[in-house]
């Protein structure tokens, strides 16, 4: 079926809408606010996580993954130990000192900002020992934990070199040191990191709110535009050249594009804000470190900084082009659904003052859909309600994108949800097509939903 004239309706509606002061000012203000939020959201976390990120960055850029830079080694045994290669491989400076110097050095680093530790390899009654002292002092970041890790590493190497020197064959040593493999895992579900938890609840909520505002406010503009055409009687003229279906189609698509345009302009504002924040923000650091951090997990051991980097990276691991595509598709489908209903609401009245009461049923459906999408996300965990919400056309447009982005659903589930939305949109548009032609010239009291349903028979 060729619908003549919809393109002209589309072009006129689009052009007029983007020229309105409310669109220009509203878009500019929102773009600025979003830019500011994007900037602050990237920069503010650095105040809390900055030192840890910096530490991880140092580690992964070739610096030490520890808070220690220099290890002073004092070998007080009769054996020879070469620890230089081991420590250098961990980006640690290795400095050999005598036992006399060791005492002086320990005294020296007891109140210093030097990131150092002193390791004494000693002989005792029970064999060899490693005695480590770490630097202390105001603002000295060296931690006992890191020194413990370095000491264990050195002790292990000293042990191997000692066994070789007393004549134990290399393969025997390897067999002895291989030990017993141990694995540790949680009894229940793998615990979710704090950052992942925050992302799981905050992102869907923000996404639901933003999509709801855009879809719903522009759907109401469709209702308003239809009502203006009816109340100003322009519709009588338009119908001499275009069919009612072409009018509603052109109008709905134009409003959809206007809202997408506004959405992208605001998104552009956010991107600009983010780009400006890059030199100071957390995301650029996370972005550059995330991949490298994953490779260094083994070496990093229980490093908290690397963990945070990986948590943030994991939260956005599903963000790619498919997310953008799904977001646009669900936005358009959600928009068609609600604006189709809104168009009917606008056509059911003859006077502008009846508009608010006419769009009330649509508002209720929209708000219900929004809460269906919003509430299950509060806990950040998967539940029955959230599963249902992503397949119901009144709520799925608000939640599908974030669910997919956070990896709560895969592409198959997303496509099923989209297919349901498409089917719902077709049904709505068939209903609109059937009823709109009849009610567009209706004058008098507002038509009720029951009246419209009768028209479809």
């Amino acid at each position: 079926m060729r619908i003549k004239g919809w393109k002209e309706v589309f072009a006129f509606t689009f052009n007029q809408q983007i020229k309105t002061k409310s669109f220009i000012i509203g878009t500019a203000v929102m773009a600025f606010i979003v830019a500011l939020i994007a900037f602050l959201a990237d920069v503010l976390p650095m105040a809390f996580l900055g030192s840890q990120i910096e530490q991880a960055e140092n580690a992964l850029k070739g610096g030490s993954i520890y808070t220690v830079d220099t290890v002073y080694i004092s070998n007080e045994t009769d054996y020879r130990f070469d620890l230089t290669n081991l420590l250098t491989s961990q980006s640690l400076n290795c400095k050999i000192i005598t036992s006399a110097e060791a005492d002086a050095k320990i005294s020296e680093i007891s109140d210093t900002s030097e990131k150092a530790m002193v390791v004494r390899i000693i002989s005792g009654n029970n064999g060899l020992g490693v005695d480590s002292r770490y630097a202390t002092g105001e603002d000295n970041p060296v931690t006992k934990n890191d020194c413990g890790s370095i000491s264990s590493m050195i002790a292990s190497e000293v042990n191997v070199q000692y066994l070789l020197q007393i004549g134990v064959p290399e393969n025997e040593i390897a067999r002895t040191l291989s030990g017993v493999t141990t694995t540790v895992s949680s009894a229940g579900e793998e615990p979710v990191s704090m950052i992942q938890q925050i992302m799981n609840s905050v992102v869907p909520m923000i996404s639901a709110i933003v999509l709801f505002i855009f879809i719903f406010s522009y759907s109401q503009l469709v209702a308003q535009a239809v009502a203006i055409e009816k109340s100003s009687r322009v519709i009588e003229y338009l119908l001499t050249s275009v069919k009612p279906l072409a009018i509603i189609l052109g109008k709905v698509l134009a409003m959809c594009c206007v809202s997408l345009l506004q959405f992208f302009i605001i998104g552009l504002g956010g991107t600009l804000g983010f780009l400006v924040s890059l030199p100071f923000g957390i995301m650029s650091k996370v972005g550059s470190l995330a991949g490298a951090a994953a490779d260094s997990m083994a070496a990093a051991g229980n490093s908290e900084a690397i963990g945070i980097v990986n948590d943030i990276g994991a939260a956005f691991s599903n963000v790619d082009l498919s997310v953008l595509v799904i977001m646009i598709v669900t936005f358009i489908l959600g928009f068609l659904f609600f604006s189709g209903l809104a168009g009917l609401a606008g056509a059911s009245i003859s006077k502008m003052e009846d508009l608010s009461s006419a769009i009330q049923p649509m508002s209720l459906i929209g708000v219900l859909g929004f809460y269906l999408a919003y509430f299950p996300q509060v806990t950040g965990e998967e539940n029955t309600m959230s599963m249902i919400a992503r397949y119901i056309p009144i709520s799925s447009p608000f939640i599908l994108t974030s669910d997919y982005m956070l990896g709560k659903i895969g592409i198959v589930e997303a496509l099923i949800s989209i297919a349901i939305m498409v089917a719902a949109d077709i049904l709505i548009m068939m209903f609109v097509a059937k009823v709109y032609e009849t009610i567009i010239l209706h004058t008098g009291n507002r038509l009720k939903i029951g009246d419209m349903l009768k028209m479809t028979k």
Binding site: G5, Q16, R233, E236, Y237, L239, T240, L441
Partner: protein, 306 residues
């Protein structure tokens, strides 16, 4: 070219809006589409234009069903309007575009019509800034924008001051002289008489009169007599079988059964030494026919005159 409307009917629920409407327009000119308020004129026009589904009947333009998506039809609706917040010129370009006319082709037509209607200076304004009369001019310009062959004007003169009404009339005359087929609805019977030769009159959805206006008048004969005299004439009029319709300072109006009765009345007045100032025997006006057909009960109206 011709427009043939045959047996057009429409019901809204149980209420008959239009019943068996038929008429033909076979040559350019202005065709009067008349009726009381709520008689079904706008419903009929909407059915003719295809904006409203008809229950039965057909509308043929040049022997083919009229398709306003293909034919250029100019329409000035009774309930007309413009987008209040939008620029007038942009609205005109939009109206042209939905009729398939490109901007460059629409510009000369808009310039001509706006100049002709003396609204050039309002092109850049918003509709809500214009007076009702000027908005009406813009709407007439929109109706005539694409040089349509068939023009439907529903109450084109309502709400206009005499100066602008004359301007509208001159434009309608111009369109008629350019060979356009114009259907005009109006409650101003003098205007209809001025423009139209053929008409259809609706009352409560029924056609109560249709045909050529002169033929209708001629078929009724000269039955309206107005007399102004220097003495009372009531007794003489009664004797001559005249029925008094009304008395005004300009004289007394009577209905006569035949022209012979009128002649007898004149003779009797002269024989009685009455000085006759005015003696006007004429055919009924359209206004009188309208009131006669629609003023009382539809069931009692005379059969239609063709």
């Amino acid at each position: 070219m011709s427009l043939v409307v045959e047996h057009l009917s429409k019901k809204f629920g149980e209420k008959v809006a239009v019943r068996d409407l038929s008429f033909e327009i076979n040559e350019p000119g202005v065709f009067a589409f008349l009726g009381t308020n709520g008689a079904g004129k706008s419903t009929s026009i909407r059915m003719i234009l295809g904006m409203l589904a008809k229950d039965s009947g057909s509308v043929l333009w040049n022997g083919q069903p009229l398709d306003i998506m293909k034919e250029q039809v100019g329409y000035l609706a009774e309930e007309r309007g413009l987008y209040p917040k939008y620029n007038i010129l942009e609205q005109m370009y939009y109206f042209a575009s939905i009729k398939g006319v490109k901007k460059k082709d629409a510009t000369p037509a808009i310039d001509y019509l706006f100049s002709r209607l003396k609204i050039d200076e309002y092109k850049k304004m918003k509709a809500e800034q214009l007076s009702k009369g000027n908005q009406q001019k813009v709407q007439l310009a929109a109706a005539l924008l694409c040089n349509p062959k068939l023009i439907i004007l529903d109450e084109p003169l309502s709400g206009l001051d005499p100066v602008n009404a004359d301007l509208f009339k001159s434009i309608i005359r111009e369109e008629r002289d350019n060979g356009k087929y114009i259907i005009m609805s109006s409650h101003q019977m003098e205007t209809i008489e001025e423009f139209c030769e053929d008409l259809v009159l609706l009352h409560h959805g029924d056609v109560v009169m249709s045909g050529n206006l002169n033929d209708i008048k001629r078929s009724r004969g000269r039955e309206n007599l107005t007399i102004k005299a220097d003495k009372p004439i009531g007794d003489i009029a009664q004797r001559c079988g005249l029925t008094l319709v009304e008395e005004t300072p300009n004289g007394s109006s009577f209905k006569v059964k035949s022209e012979d009765d009128a002649g007898r009345m004149l003779r009797e007045m002269l024989d009685n030494g009455i000085n006759v100032i005015k003696f006007d025997l004429r055919e009924p006006t359209l206004h009188e026919l309208f009131v006669e057909k629609c003023g009382g009960n539809t069931q009692e109206t005379a059969p239609e005159v063709r």
